[in-house]
Symmetry: C2
Subunit: 339 residues, 2 copies
DNA sequence: AGCCTTGACTGAACCGGATAAGTTCGCTCA
DNA sequence: TGAGCGAACTTATCCGGTTCAGTCAAGGCT
């Protein structure tokens, strides 16, 4: 089956290639009657313009790129990315943009991918995930002048556009809730420490605990995997003054933590309250269901995509604040039992 | 920053565009010395050929497409797809191919996407997931002559290449194991019934149960979500002759089922044994850890990608059998307690 | 009537590569 | 010595769009 080209449409309509191009792109230069005729013929023979030819003659590539820098085992288990992607996708496909995905090993590889995409004109812009403290990707993208939207912040995004949510406020809400329940010894199992949002949450945690006079407020680091989350929990619960509540930086670690607590003979929420970040369906599957800080992740992705398309269209780089994650109390939090 | 083109390289090397093209593509027609000089200049100025121009002049688009037909909430929670994607990606990026992703609403939308990709020459081939019984995508792809590899089977893939795993054997192994433990009343919570692999598993389940003389072997349908999996479990466990073991078609439903069992006061594995399909890290997170039918999903994706690249290169469509999922016994299975 | 404008369209150049066809040039060998 | 030949290039064409500079006829205006 031969692919129809613009010349095929032109021939059938008895006009030139140029006229067809004007008609299909809504440009002036053809009469309304001719435009309709051309459109009808294009539909009839199933014509869709070659993205390559279009990209070559200066128009957009019709695609945006997303590079993911996490090992496969973490990518798979964390619902976050897949939900983000489906949100991004929904927005993009509504505007007939394609999403090009690449998994990379580290920051340097990611920068190399951006440089290649830029040289190949393969994408019109990129979405940047997992913002780090002192992120080398930002200056690299600025130098390339490749349209980009950073998913993360606030701050640290240079002159690039960004979409961010107020993690500090959310974390503060969670701590205040636990304190209101009567908890005084609260710990936190954090994500990768060089991610900027981890830093933001850590700062907020330290600040609010100081303000509320909680002295034992400790953060231990993990890597978002269940194994590490479980280990971190085991360490926390083995200490002399064990916490009565733990906040986890993602749902997977929270579930692992729940498992460890139960294995150590502690009841949740009687002996230990648990709060998870990222309220995925997983949180409702376990027993007791987890209190979680949730938000609409597909919407977050959709906003980022919309923002990116705006930047590609030449609008100035904005900083859009997304919904603040909100606390959904479930069975894993309660007042601490007297000991 | 201006993107370097082949003309820039040619100018700096003092040769024609053609010579540069030959040099970069390893074609004969330039001396080794010139080739090296051109290569060095290309690297120096950071030249990467425009994928658009390349695609336009008859070479490949350098991308393959993957359309996913599941709602966002299922995509997010099931580790399967993200693991598959990262495996596909690993193979593709090693060969400098890009992955274009699109989430679609239904089979018709998916076919429309294939048709558009084909018309736009946006991809060189596609990977087809979630093979259905009597799948309309197969004839559509055959008609377009778009290179494709079906992830699924065996059978029902028409003349297209495919990569499949022997789900029937795996399911048989699981049932035989449960029977060996002493179970006589085994139920199954299946996935979406119009997926071909669901059908395959159902047939195998019916066959092996018949063979082993298990009369109450019942399959109930679900949709892979935790909610539905939990509901299905509740129904099964509320029946007069409740099963002593349940096999779930994915891990999420198995975890939900575990939760429901515990909520109904049954102990696992004492009162109920549970086997999950798809052994993701989730299975090890819960308590007790789940016995599961697992396999290397990233490798599965990588094989499919490799197969697709072979088909794109013009090799005949093969049918590759991948590793059969194997049973990993954990704490969720044990001999049934006498009642 | 003659001039100018406008709308509708055509023709050709161009984007950046791949590649077939043509052009040198040095070398071999009759 | 010069025809013949292959290596090492160059030139030109093509891919399928976009877009700019024209062309041409119809209509308005003075």
């Amino acid at each position: 089956m031969k692919r129809p080209t613009i010349a095929d449409v032109a021939r059938r309509a008895g006009v030139s290639k140029g006229a067809v191009s004007y008609a299909l792109n809504g440009q002036p230069g053809v009469s309304e009657a001719t435009r309709q005729r051309i459109l009808a013929i294009a539909t009839e023979i199933g014509f869709s313009p070659s993205s390559a030819a279009r990209a070559l003659s200066g128009a957009s590539a019709g695609a945006v790129g997303l590079a993911l820098c996490r090992p496969a085992r973490i990518l798979g288990i964390e619902p976050f990315f897949m939900e983000l992607i489906s949100g991004v996708e929904a927005e993009l496909s509504a505007r007939s943009y394609a999403l090009t995905l690449q998994v990379v090993a580290d920051q340097d590889a990611e920068i190399a991918v951006y440089r290649r995409w830029w040289g190949e004109r393969r994408v019109d812009g990129v979405l940047v995930c997992d913002l780090r403290t002192d992120d080398r990707r930002i200056p690299a993208l600025e130098q390339l002048q490749l349209p980009a939207v950073v998913i993360g912040g606030p701050g640290g995004t240079g002159d690039l556009a960004s979409v961010w949510s107020d993690d500090a406020a959310a974390l503060t809400e969670a701590v205040e809730y636990l304190v209101a329940l009567g908890h005084r010894r609260i710990a936190r199992v954090g994500g990768l420490p060089d991610l900027r949002h981890t830093q933001t949450r850590t700062d907020a945690f330290t600040a609010v605990c100081g303000q509320l006079g909680l002295v034992d407020a400790v953060t231990v680091w993990s890597d978002y995997t269940g194994e590490e989350g479980g280990r971190a929990t085991r360490r926390l619960l083995s200490s002399a003054q064990r916490p009565t509540a733990v906040i986890y930086d993602n749902d997977v670690m929270a579930i692992a933590g729940l498992s460890v607590a139960q294995e150590m003979g502690l009841t949740v929420p009687g002996d230990l309250s648990i709060v998870a970040w990222d309220d995925s369906p997983l949180c409702r599957l376990v027993h007791p269901p987890l209190t979680a800080l949730g938000r609409d992740i597909p919407a977050y992705g959709a906003h980022a995509a919309r923002q990116l398309l705006a930047v590609i269209a030449g609008q100035p780089a904005g900083r859009v604040q997304d919904e603040t994650p909100h606390l959904t109390p479930r069975g894993s939090t309660a007042p601490p039992r007297e000991r």
